[in-house]
Amino acid sequence: MRALEDAGMTWGDIDAVVLGKAPDLFEGVMKPELYLTDALGGGTGPARVHTAGSVGGSTTSSPASCRRASTSGSSPSPSRSSPRARPCGRCRCRCRSPPPLVAKVRAVSSPPHPGVHAPLGAPPHISCLVALKDRQNALKNPYAHLHEHDVTFEKIEESMMPGDPIRYSETPVVGRRATGHLRNEAGGDANRNAAWILGTAMREPTRCSPAVTSEPLAGQQCADDVFAQAGTRPAAEIDVAEITCRSRGTSPMARRTWARAEGEAGSSPRRVTAMDGDLPGQPVRRRALHQPISASGTALRGVGDTGAGPGRRAPDRRRTRLWIRAYGGGSQFFAMWVVSATKPA
């Protein structure tokens, strides 16, 4: 309802509802859109569901598609769409029998670190720096799960390692208190607070692919696709980035994707993602601060960062173009957006 209020709309204005969420097994409810129907417009609109770790990014791509299709004159019924991701606050894992030989999440997250950092030439403490920057940014975000007012570089560096080499302070927040009420109107009529969608892309490879690298091919292709759609050169025209990172180590990887996209072959991550840097990353929120699985669709948050959207929590200067990167699996699946605070010509 808050999303509708923010857009100045009612359910009567909504033509399509897209629900994205974590795997149904996480909650123990099969196809939960069915019982959530009453909360999603009283049954008046269609619903459909993505299930993936980066579903926020991919879910929002779908109504974006509808919108672009309708603006191009070939109109399927949806003209406005309301992507939403639901919280995992009632996460009740009922998986009765775990599959054999399954890797623990931390085990999945840990190996990439050396493999990611070494080729990039990133310093060993890069993850701590990223974590510090994000925790500090989160202090400006009233919706963040964690507000660590006394966070310091030393505290992060000293926190325990649940899985070597990842420190606890470098990991995302997961849990019952997560409140991933992500709301937005994707590509609304723009008169107020709209974030205009310049491009959306998704890529997924085989699970057997060499996903654990500093530059996953799917990420590169996805970036190439989304920037081509947006018709933008990242370095020149993107003001801010909102990046899904389950642990701080993947932030340099995203930065690398960025560098490649803007043609900086061979460049290493620079300290440019602070609020006053060339490319502020995660200006107000990020996954490490509250991680409702699947609701991590940073796309939705990112829209708020354009200075538009429900949050209007833009940092100190108005951001006009935003690159959004979400991923799932072991850096396997990628969904990206480019949005703009100003209506494209």
Binding site: L25, V29, Y35, T37, V49, H50, S75, R203, G329
Partner: protein, 352 residues
């Protein structure tokens, strides 16, 4: 609206239990058949979308593994819905409407044999007050059937008649799991499974998979001499609570049918995803299908019901029949949820 058509359809031989094959192995030959028929490949198809549920596999993110059935390397543009493949087709159709791609692969699968399907389906019920009572899917459908009989709009013999017709139709479907010659009297003589439903009123439990290729405009004409054009497609949902809606009517099907334009011209045949006999009567009425419309010439989900694929199969069966010239205009329907809660309706036309 851009002209988009179903140009190819393939499905597995549906069986009660496909032993020795996992979902990837079940899916691979089906997709492989489509690659062979269209000349497309994972590299060249514009978009891929699948529909499935983790609740059959008992494993979160199971669909990510199944993607290997199509060999996605280098990475592909891909999406998944935790719904019947018919909704995956809807997403692919939207993508095609954008005009940025010309072809799409849609696939779905359901391997129900490893679990207790009626109980698995219980988990899609409201999780606080209904699901904890563990009403199984057949009992829930039985409530709906009883309501329909009590309304006076159908009899148990009508239900048996639906079963007899679908079993007979299925004799011409080499992929069907159940087929044969029965009489209404024979079926009525059988005991109840969940009063008033008898075994023949219920869908079989099936392992199976299906896939379609969508294509737009001239590309569709290149891939198929007589593509099945999607003239209208829409899906609607209604209240979840069984007590909050008239179970004897399907308001969401009616609305989706109107939006898709079912009544705009005569319909030659319909493929309805109505897993239970009484549901076929409810859906046919909601779509306004007259007695002259052949319903479920394939035998429908009573002949084979691979959960999550049975809706997509309705679209594929209808399209294939049109492409063979066995009709000019068809309606395909898919459903999701208990007692026909959510419904998708698609109007297909052969080029004529």
């Amino acid at each position: 609206m851009r002209d988009v058509a179903i140009v190819a359809f393939a499905q597995s031989k549906h069986e009660r239990r496909i032993e020795g094959y996992n979902e990837i192995e079940m899916m691979m030959p089906v997709v492989g058949e489509l690659w062979e028929r269209t000349g497309l490949s994972a590299d060249t198809v514009g978009f891929t979308c699948s529909g499935s549920t983790d609740f059959l596999a008992g494993q979160a993110f199971s669909f990510v593994t199944i993607l290997d059935a199509i060999g996605p390397w280098p990475p592909i543009s891909e999406s998944h819905v935790e719904m019947d493949g018919a909704w995956a087709l809807y997403e692919a159709w939207v993508k095609l409407q954008m005009g940025e791609i010309d072809t799409a692969l849609v696939y779905s699968y359901g391997k129900s044999s490893p679990g207790d399907l009626p109980k698995v389906l219980t988990t899609q019920l409201e999780p606080y007050s209904v699901a904890p009572l563990w009403p199984d899917a057949i009992s829930v459908a039985g409530l709906q059937a009883r309501a329909l009989l009590d309304s006076g709009r159908a009899t148990e013999a009508d239900l048996a008649g639906v079963a007899v017709r679908n079993r007979a139709h299925a004799k011409d479907n080499p992929k069907a799991q159940l087929a044969g010659d029965y009489t209404v009297e024979e079926i009525l003589a059988e005991p109840y499974l969940a009063n008033p439903l008898r075994k023949h009123d219920c869908p079989p439990i099936t392992d199976g998979a299906a896939a379609v290729i969508l294509a737009a405009g001239d590309v569709a004409r290149e891939l198929n001499d007589r593509p099945a054009w999607i003239r209208g497609i829409d899906h609607r949902v209604e209240a979840h609570a069984l007590g909050a809606r008239d179970l004897t009517r399907s308001a969401s099907t009616r609305l989706a049918g109107e939006k898709a334009g079912v009544g705009d011209a005569p319909v030659d045949f319909a493929e309805l995803h109505a897993p239970f006999t009484h549901q076929e009567l409810i859906v046919a009425e909601a779509l306004g299908l007259g007695d002259d419309v052949t319903v479920n010439p394939s035998g429908g989900p009573l002949a084979a019901n691979p959960v999550m694929a049975a809706g997509l199969i309705r679209l594929g069966e209808a399209a294939e029949r049109l492409s063979r010239g066995e009709g000019d205009r068809a309606v395909a329907h898919a459903t999701s949820g208990p007692c026909l809660q959510q419904n998708l309706v698609c109007v297909l036309e052969g080029e004529g």
